[in-house]
Structure formats: structure tokens, C-alpha cells
Symmetry: C2
Subunit: 119 residues, 2 copies
């Protein structure tokens, strides 16, 4: 697995973790403590805010999971990948693409974009 794919898979795993304690542990392993996240709907600074933000997405879309779409790729400290969010086994109604900036192999800053949202 490439570094980009590995990073993207660990990123998606944290987004799919509904247990707050396990999610915090995944974030601590993979993200820097001062990591930032932004997308058109939300932003978070630091792992507590980012974990709460992910929890709020699960509250809003119970049972939905994130899946990677296509092949993550990147270079140096930059990774990009696309994803879907939807009920297990169904075509994802929500799709997006993220760009991640790394620091020492950990996620330091994520910029998220939405590619598809339900009308």
C-alpha cells in the first residue's frame, strides 16, 4: 500500500469510528495535536474539536459510513483522495474530495470539498 493510500485509509477509519474514545485514540495516532480541518459546512481546530465534529456527522447521518472512492495519491507532504458517505451497501448520496497536508507523516491540515450533495 502506498503512503497516500495508508494515510487515506486511516483517515477514513477515524471518520467511521462512532465510539468517541476509540475515535480520539485513532486521531491521536494519525493526526498532529494541533491539526485543523475545514470543509464547506464545518471546521475544527485540535483533536477534541475534530472528534466532536465527526461525532456530530454520525448523529446527523446514523448508520452512514465513509468509503474511499478511487485511488488516493500524492507527493511529499500532500495527499488527495475522494470519498463517499452513505448507508452501507448503497450508492453514496454524498461525495467529496479532500486534500491533506502532513507533518512528520501525520495529518496536520485537511481541506475538504463536496463533489455531490443531495438536491
Amino acid at each position: 500500500m502506498t503512503d497516500a493510500a495508508h494515510i487515506a485509509e486511516r483517515y477514513i477509519a477515524a471518520w467511521n469510528e462512532t465510539d468517541a474514545q476509540r475515535r480520539q485514540r485513532l486521531l491521536a495516532e494519525t493526526w498532529t495535536p494541533d491539526a485543523t480541518y475545514v470543509d464547506p459546512l464545518q471546521r475544527g481546530v485540535g483533536l477534541d474539536q475534530i472528534s466532536a465534529m465527526i461525532g456530530a456527522v454520525h448523529d446527523r447521518f446514523p448508520g452512514f459510513t465513509f468509503t474511499l472512492a478511487g485511488e488516493p495519491n500524492g507527493y511529499g507532504d500532500y495527499v488527495r483522495f475522494s470519498w463517499g458517505l452513505g448507508p452501507a451497501g448503497a450508492d453514496a448520496p454524498i461525495k467529496g474530495s479532500d486534500v491533506a497536508m502532513l507533518d512528520g507523516g501525520r495529518l496536520r491540515s485537511i481541506i475538504g470539498f463536496l463533489d455531490q450533495v443531495p438536491g
Copy 2:
């Protein structure tokens, strides 16, 4: 024209400017003085480096021009867009997608990715 489209068009205009003095002026109007650029092949910090980097691309691909592909979009201080680089009137052999971070409406940081390169 949306802000994202306007920013992307001015960005592409600077990349297409072969005259170093005019290019420096375009960069000064649209980018912050400490702007940074990175892609898989090159990086630049500050307008002098970025202008020299663009000049080197013209030296390497004489007569090639950049064109926007699809619709630029974004939110807040973030813009993304795709582009092609090739001879005028031909299908672009080189394609990429960039994410731009703005500061006060000016380009402060660009992360470029390559979507297609000749084999």
C-alpha cells in the same frame, strides 16, 4: 463570474504570461508577497521564485498555454480548479488540479496535483 472563477482565471493568466515583467505585475496584483506554490515537480516561495518557476515552464514547453478545465469552485478562503497545458487548439497532454488558499482575497498558498502526464 463567481469569486472562484475570477481567482482561477487570474491565476491562469499569470501562468500564461511569458513576459517576466508583466507576469511579475500580475502576480503582485493577485498573490500575497509571501505566497507559496508546490506541485510534484517544483516549488516556489515568494513572487520572485514563483515567477521564475513559471518562466522555466515556458522555457520547457514553448508555445504551450494553460486553460481552465471545468468550473472552478470553492468556499471561504479555499478554491479548487482543474487545468490543461498544451499547444493552442490541441487536447492538452498535461492536466492537473490545484487547491488555492486565499488571504484577504489574494492567493497565499497553492497545492498542485498532476492528473495526467504524457507516458
